[in-house]
């Protein structure tokens, strides 16, 4: 225990202080919070009922009654975006969870064992990376049937090698440290060391990568839904809304404008949040993406 990084009692408070002084973090945090609140609000209230089709109101331009206009079935686009936010926000964390839950232990295991095990796992990683992620996600959802759950799994599988790589690289950089040597001398097993010392020390990197994958997951989910492989109608999803908008660009461009902006804002918020966290945890770090 004593070997773990020092976290004095005021550590958390100063961390939060530093965090909110960081412009990227603050902006990203506020945007992400806004999206989350919108998604949660949609469970209790939306301006209009998204399951009710009112053909008389179809493709209305944005106005005071319908801020973002209506779609080809007369549904309120703002309400649909609110409900669609649930979908995007639910898919990405689960997919990141799958990637982290399987990838990180694999990567840390490879780092701890080294040798043939490491080599084999890394070759397996190369293998998954050789398959273009989107293509494989399309294959998985097309084969096992379209739907939100299969989309999550498809995106999750491609998060595994990403986290395996980060977990392994992080662990490899910690293993030669002196406090690890001390822990080994004290008779701790490799598993114990991994759980007690390696994991807490690479948590930061994992958190930063998590926000990146979260953002990428939202983009991937939108892409799959656009192709009709994600959440199925009548459940509104941002990607599907863009698909419906495509053939109606001439009469109702707002049908494409607002769902796309919802995606951009959400992804931007998460990326800023990730940049901010990376800055705060390691001021020297400059994120690659």
């Amino acid at each position: 225990m004593s070997a773990r990084a020092q976290t004095p009692n005021d550590g958390m408070a100063s961390w939060i202080g530093k965090a909110f002084a960081n412009r990227s973090f603050l902006t990203g945090f506020l945007i992400t919070l806004l999206v989350a609140v919108v998604a949660l609000t949609s469970f209790l209230w939306t301006p209009y009922d998204v399951t009710k089709l009112i053909i008389a109101d179809k493709t209305q331009a944005p106005s005071l009654t319908h801020w973002f206009g209506t779609d080809h079935f007369g549904r309120d686009i703002l309400s649909m975006i609110m409900v669609g936010a649930r979908n995007s926000i639910a898919v990405a964390p689960v997919a990141v969870g799958i990637g982290m839950g399987i990838g990180v232990p694999l990567g840390m295991f490879a780092a701890a064992r080294g040798g043939m095990v490491d080599e084999a796992l890394m070759r397996l990683n190369d293998l998954v990376f050789a398959f273009p992620a989107l293509l494989s996600a399309i294959m998985i959802t097309a084969i096992f049937g379209p739907g939100a759950v299969n989309a999550i799994i498809a995106i999750g599988i491609f998060n595994i090698p990403v986290f395996a790589r980060v977990g392994r690289a992080g662990a490899l950089s910690i293993w030669p440290r002196e406090y690890i040597l001390a822990a080994r001398a004290a008779g701790k097993s490799k598993t114990q060391i991994t759980v007690e010392h390696i994991l807490p020390n690479i948590a930061n990197q994992l958190l930063v990568q998590g926000t990146i994958q979260f953002a990428l997951g939202i983009l991937a989910e939108a892409g799959l839904s656009y192709l009709g492989l994600g959440a199925q109608p009548p459940m509104p999803s941002w990607g599907r809304m863009l698909f419906d908008a495509q053939t109606r660009m001439v009469v109702a461009p707002w049908m494409a404008l607002f769902p796309g902006m919802a995606i951009v804002v959400t992804v931007l918020g998460l990326n800023l949040l990730g940049d901010g966290i990376a800055d705060i945890l390691d001021p020297k770090s400059r994120r690659q993406r």
Binding site: R123, D126, L127, F129, A130, F131, P132, A133, L134, L135, I138, M139, A142, I143, A215, L219, A222, G223, Y226, L227, L242, A245, Q246, M249, V250, P253, A256, L257, P259, G260, I263, V264, V265, V267, L268, N271, L272, D275, R286, R287, Q288, R289
Partner: protein
């Protein structure tokens, strides 16, 4: 250097073989009998069985795998179930759309990203840097297919400068064909450029902190020359890595963009083949794309060795 390249080549070969096993196995467990699909629901069990024999679907697994692989190696991909033409013809017909599209997009993205990265890195912290990186931050967040829709609205629907979609074919002339690839290429390139610009900037900043840069400056070398001759060259490794990944993504990941613009490319071919259960097409095209990704990565590894002399000594 030889040892390094040999190891890379070995890894690439192993990955390729494993990938072929995975593709074969996955399509083996896919529900849906292609013979049944071709004959329709009304065909008798005996007819289906006869066609299965004809298509070689009843042969043992290993025999079918070896047959498939040897076919791939001799560029005989078999015949498409739905189009009833050799798969290689379908592929060649589509490659002439997808490959130019990917190349144009990559060229555009590089042409935007490297200068922006250089500009930002050399004016780190200044207003210009902040604006450029703000734009890049936004660019990374934009889904390329939404950006494509916006481009269509602006340039095809509103200004009527370019067609909204479709591809006239190269036989219609180089300019009309290029014109219909322009918007898709821009849509693909911009988000990629945003990523590449950020990578270029951060790699350059890292290099600019090195002692040898200070030495070069101290001996009186102009800043511009230092930037191009020393900094950019040393920053190239991460940049080339990302470019390799992006090219692979562009070749295979254009599925959505090809759908937006109704382009008859490889992505749409494989997407339609998947929905129609035309497994032989899926198998071949996916394998081809995977082989391309592996080849590009290998090329990137070789580029490392050329760009970075330090790697040549290591294995």
């Amino acid at each position: 250097m030889i040892a390094y390249l040999a190891k890379r080549l070995g890894i690439a070969t192993v990955t390729l073989v494993l990938a072929s096993l995975v593709v074969f196995a996955v399509l083996e467990i896919v529900p849906g009998d292609p013979a049944r699909l071709m004959l329709g629901m009304n065909a008798s069990e005996a007819q289906v069985e006869q066609l299965r024999d004809q298509m070689g679907l009843n042969a043992p697994l290993i025999e079918r795998y070896l047959h498939w692989v040897s076919g791939l190696l001799s560029l005989d991909f078999g015949r498409s179930y739905t189009y009833s033409v050799p798969v290689i013809d379908l592929v060649l017909e589509r490659v002439v759309v997808s490959l130019p599209l990917a190349l144009i997009a990559l060229a555009l993205s590089t042409a935007i990203a490297i200068p922006v990265g250089l500009y930002s890195a050399s004016r780190r912290g200044a207003a210009g840097d902040a604006v450029a990186m703000g734009a890049a931050q936004l660019g990374v967040a934009v889904p390329n297919f939404w950006f494509a829709l916006m481009l269509v609205y602006l340039f095809a629907v509103w200004l009527r400068w370019v067609p909204a979609g479709g591809f006239p074919g190269w036989s219609a002339g180089v300019w009309p064909a290029l014109k219909s690839l322009l918007l898709p290429a821009i849509a693909l390139a911009l988000p990629q450029a945003a990523i590449l610009a950020r990578v270029t900037r951060s790699a350059l900043i890292e290099v600019l902190n090195e002692d040898y840069i200070r030495t070069a400056r101290a001996k009186g070398m102009p800043y511009r020359a230092v930037l191009w001759r020393h900094a950019l060259r040393n920053a190239l490794i991460p940049v080339v890595t990302i470019m390799g990944l992006q090219f692979a993504f562009l070749l295979a990941g254009t599925i959505i963009i090809e759908n937006v613009f109704y382009l008859p490319g490889l992505g749409r071919l494989v997407f339609q083949a998947i929905t129609q259960r035309d497994l032989i097409v899926v198998e071949s095209v996916v394998m081809l794309l995977v082989a391309t990704v592996i080849a590009v990565n290998l090329l990137v590894d070789f580029t490392y060795a050329i760009v970075d002399p330090r790697l040549r000594g290591r294995s």
